[in-house]
Amino acid sequence: MQRSLTFNIFRHNPQDPASVPHMDTYRLDETDSMTLFIALHRLREEQDPSLKFDFCCRAGVCGSCAMVINGRPGLACHTKTRDLPDTITLLPLPVFKLVGDLAVDTGTWFRAMYQRTESWIHTRAEFDPAAQEARMENEVANAIYELDRCIECGCCVAACGTANLRPDFLAPAGFIRVARFAADPRDERTDADFYEIIGSDEGIFGCMGLLACEDVCPKHLPLQNQLGYLRRKMGLTVLKKLLPFGG
C-alpha cells in the first residue's frame, strides 16, 4: 500500500537577517524505489522551489547530498524512503557552515583539513616527468586505495562527538587522510613528523572512541581500525621520546 510521507525539514537562510531557523512540514506520496534525493527534488519542483539542498551525482559518489536523516548523518541519494518511517526529519549537517536549509559548506572545512594534514606526498626525490612511474606492490596500492575512497561527504565529522564540541578537532576524515599518507611508501614523513600534525587533543588524542563515524560512513571506510592504529602509532612516538635510544 502506498504511504503518505511527512517531511519535517529545517529551513533557514543565514544570508537573510530576517530569516529565523524553523521546521517546515511537507507531505508526499511514496513511489517505488523512492530515495530521499528523489523526494527532495519532487518537493522542490511540486511544492516549494525555495528549498535548498546540495546534490550532484545521485549515486553516492560525490558526497554532496549528505544531511541528518532522522538523527543520523547519511546521503540522501543512498537512502530509500522505504527504509524510513512515515515521518522523516531532515536537518543540515552540524559542524559545517550553513549555506541554507539542508545545504552546508563542506569545502572550506575539507580544504583547511588538507592544509593542516599537509595532504600531499612529502618527498625529497626530484620529479622526472620523463621517467616511468615508480612501481608499487599491488597489496600496498590496494591498502592506499582503501584509505583514499573518502568522498568528503562530512557524515563522519557530523556524527563525531568531539568535532561537535570543539571546532579545531581534526575529526575522522582528517585522520583517515593522515593514515592514507602514512601507508604510502613514497611519503618520507616519519612518525615524529605525523606527530606534529595529529599528536594532540585537537588531533588523535582528542578522539573519544565513540565510533559514530564508523557507523555512519556511507562508504564503509575502515575508520575504527585506522583511529586505533594512529593512536597506537602516536602513543608509541611519545614513549620513544622517553627512551635514550628512542630518538
Binding site: 543520523r72 573519544m208 559514530a212 581500525n225 597506537r232 602513543g235
Partner: protein, 217 residues
C-alpha cells in the same frame, strides 16, 4: 575548522600524548583494583569469618594502608586527567546532550553514561576512601554496620551500578581508542563486555545484600 598554518613553527608539545597514557594507565589500574576489591569483599558471601581472615592477612602485610593510599593518589590523578575531556561549559554540555539525543547511537549514549557516572563516583569514592582508610582494617561487622545504618544501603545501590557502568564502558572505550577492539571483533567484545557488566553487578549487589542481612551481634 580554519587554519592558515601549513606547518607548525615549533615542535608540538608531548603533553597531550602523555596525558592520554596517564588517563588510560590510571583508569586500567583503578578498574583492576575495583574488580579485585569487589572479589575480596564478596568473600563475605561465605561468611564474616572468611572476609575477616582475608582482611587480617592483608592488614598484617600493610597492603590495606599502603594500597589504600596509593589507590587514593591514582584516583585523584585519574579524575583530574580524565576531567579535561568532560564538557563542563554549559554550551558544550547542551551540545553534547543534543548530539546524543539526535544521533540515537548506543556508544555515544554510553559516553554520556560514563560522564554522568564519573560525577557520582567522584563524590562517593572520595567519601568511601576517607571512611575506609580512617577505619582500617576492613571487617565484616564494620561494613555491615555502615550498610545497615544512615541510608548507606541506598547510596551503595546507586553507586555500584554506576561503578560497573563506568568501569566496563571505560575499558571498552580504551580498547577502541588503542585499537584492541577492531571492526572485526567489535560485536564479540561488546557482548563479552555486557557479560562482564552483568557479572560485576550481580556480584556487587549480592555482596551488598549480604552485608545488609549480616547479623550485627
Amino acid at each position: 575548522m580554519e587554519t592558515d598554518c601549513i606547518a607548525p613553527a615549533r615542535p608540538r608539545s608531548r603533553a597531550d600524548g602523555w596525558l592520554d597514557w596517564v588517563q588510560m594507565a590510571t583508569g586500567a589500574a583503578l578498574a583492576l583494583f575495583a574488580c579485585m576489591h569487589m572479589i575480596l569483599l564478596s568473600t563475605v558471601l561465605f561468611g564474616a569469618g572468611a572476609l575477616n581472615g582475608m582482611s587480617a592477612v592483608m592488614d598484617a602485610l600493610h597492603l590495606e594502608t599502603v594500597g589504600g593510599v596509593l589507590i587514593a593518589i591514582v584516583f585523584c590523578v585519574h579524575a583530574t586527567v580524565a576531567a579535561r575531556k568532560i564538557p563542563f561549559k554549559a554550551a558544550q554540555a547542551v551540545t553534547a546532550w543534543r548530539h546524543a539525543r539526535l544521533l540515537h547511537h548506543p556508544e555515544t549514549w554510553a559516553w554520556v553514561a560514563q560522564v554522568a557516572t564519573a560525577f557520582i563516583l567522584a563524590v562517593f569514592i572520595t567519601i568511601h576512601i576517607w571512611t575506609g582508610l580512617t577505619d582500617l582494617p576492613v571487617q565484616a561487622l564494620k561494613s555491615a554496620v555502615r550498610v545497615q545504618h544512615g541510608g548507606w544501603f541506598w547510596v551503595f545501590l546507586l553507586v555500584l551500578p554506576a561503578l560497573a557502568l563506568h568501569l566496563v564502558i571505560g575499558a571498552w572505550r580504551a580498547g577502541v581508542k588503542w585499537g584492541l577492539i577492531t571492526r572485526e571483533n567489535r560485536a564479540d567484545i561488546t557482548r563479552k563486555g555486557l557479560y562482564l557488566l552483568g557479572g560485576f553487578l550481580c556480584l556487587s549487589l549480592l555482596t551488598l545484600l549480604r552485608f545488609r542481612l549480616l547479623p550485627l551481634e
